[in-house]
Amino acid sequence: MKKFPYYPGCTLKQAATHFGESAIASAKAADIELVEIPRWNCCGAVSSLTSDDLMHHVAPIRNLVRVQEMNQEGLVDNEYDLIVFCSMCFNVLKRSNERVREDPEMLKTINQFMDTEQDYEAKVNVVHFLETLKEIGWNKIERQVKKPLKGLKISAYYGCTLLRPRGIGIDDPEAPTIMDDFIRAMGAEPVSNPYKSLCCGSYHTVGDNKELVADRTYKIVNAARENGAEMIITSCPLCAYNLDNRQKETKEKYPEFKQMPVIYFTQIMALATGMEDRAGFNGNYIDSRPLLREHGFLEG
């Protein structure tokens, strides 16, 4: 099994351990051993766009210095592809990485500020796990599937940070297909959704504007259902929280609303590759197990 440096981020370690656990299982299925970055710090959660605000790029770059150290210490063997699962962490880390690559002056300033660290050499590639799977090849991934999810209709939800801005995102921001390819590789049936990258309401979920998020959830889940989907998958913890947990508020506001499981793509992969015990199906707000049992993918 090849060892890759792995950045979990706060959510995979605590609030969404079902994402973290199923991520590690999915990687194993793809013949990858994830080696967690020692002493990683928060990515910063939001990437600063102010041109002279270098301070908020220190956190991402410090993580990338750790990847250099991992290679020097032999924790990974000359592997500079840093695998990330959380869409937001991926976006923030990659944006800082690309900025210092394009701007050596900025990299120099940040390196000088981080005087307790070795200089960052800008050799690390920040990659999302979906990209890793694509690079391995969907055919090869398909061969790892022990339990094809035949007949299961899944709608991919991309959200913003996996696709935008162009150049950072992992697919065409207007017409993405990478998650549909993933769904097919799992043996399931991708269902199109016109709102697959409509903003979920993002951080409005923590303020006084939960209703806005409930409305978005209503729109996105209903569109998925109208197109025949039984479930939605995503890779963003904030989208997952909004589309899954906020279905409670959605149902309160719209009593006729029919709830739908919204789970992480890695949970599907853990199930399809025969590691359902590591899929963490008890971690979602809307339980997906009745649906999966109905299809015969889970026993009981």
């Binding site: 706060c10 370690k13 605590q14 609030a15 002493r39 990683w40 710090n41 928060c42 910063g44 959660a45 301070m55 908020h56 220190v58 956190a59 410090r62 500020f113 981080m114 307790t116």
Partner: protein, 237 residues
Amino acid sequence: MTEEEKNMITVHIMGKAHEVPAGLTIMKAMEYAGYQFIRGSGCRAGFCGACATVYRLAGEYKLRTALACQTAAEDGMFLTQLPFVPANRQEYHVAEIEPGPGTLAEYFPEITRCVSCNTCTKSCPQDLDVMDYIQMSIRGDFEAVSKLSFDCIQCGLCVARCPAEISHYHVAQLARRLYGKYQSPVPQHLMTRLEEIEAGKFDEAISELKSLNATELEERYTAREIEKIERGEVMDE
């Protein structure tokens, strides 16, 4: 120049130059110059954390931090003493808290403002990985915070230097309290001893001690048995 004059150094205390003997700690140098500490001084042995100090060396731009009782005064130093760090403290009842991943951020939301600049770690006179434990507190890992912050003496220098205005040591103290109460393994020897105390095993001995006057207590103290521990021997409970 006499021998005595040769061994003198110049330090600048709050901007004023003073001649003090070489080899003193910052604290003693300031006392030699005539300052008396009614705050900002405690055990004088590097344990209590009361004597947080900031200083600059001659010719340097860096503002350095240390414990005044543990750091030697050097020629050309610029000195001052911090009497107190007004860090943000929260009131809570540990028994009423249900610890979860977001508990520390609930009481100290400013931890999520951490930009990983590492200034806290650089300022720590105990050489703790302060930034690392703040990162662990963001993700609610009480065990990691407790272990990384265990040697904290709460001097407050990290708080004084943090650009995100985090109260590091109060966050760590809450984490250790919650870890100790809810998560760390129960020490069996302590539970046994508690049961013995409750069963009255030591009642008689305690009442006897209480009945003694000061002189008798002093005699007992001087004559007490001190357990000798051989090198390499493990102390038995």
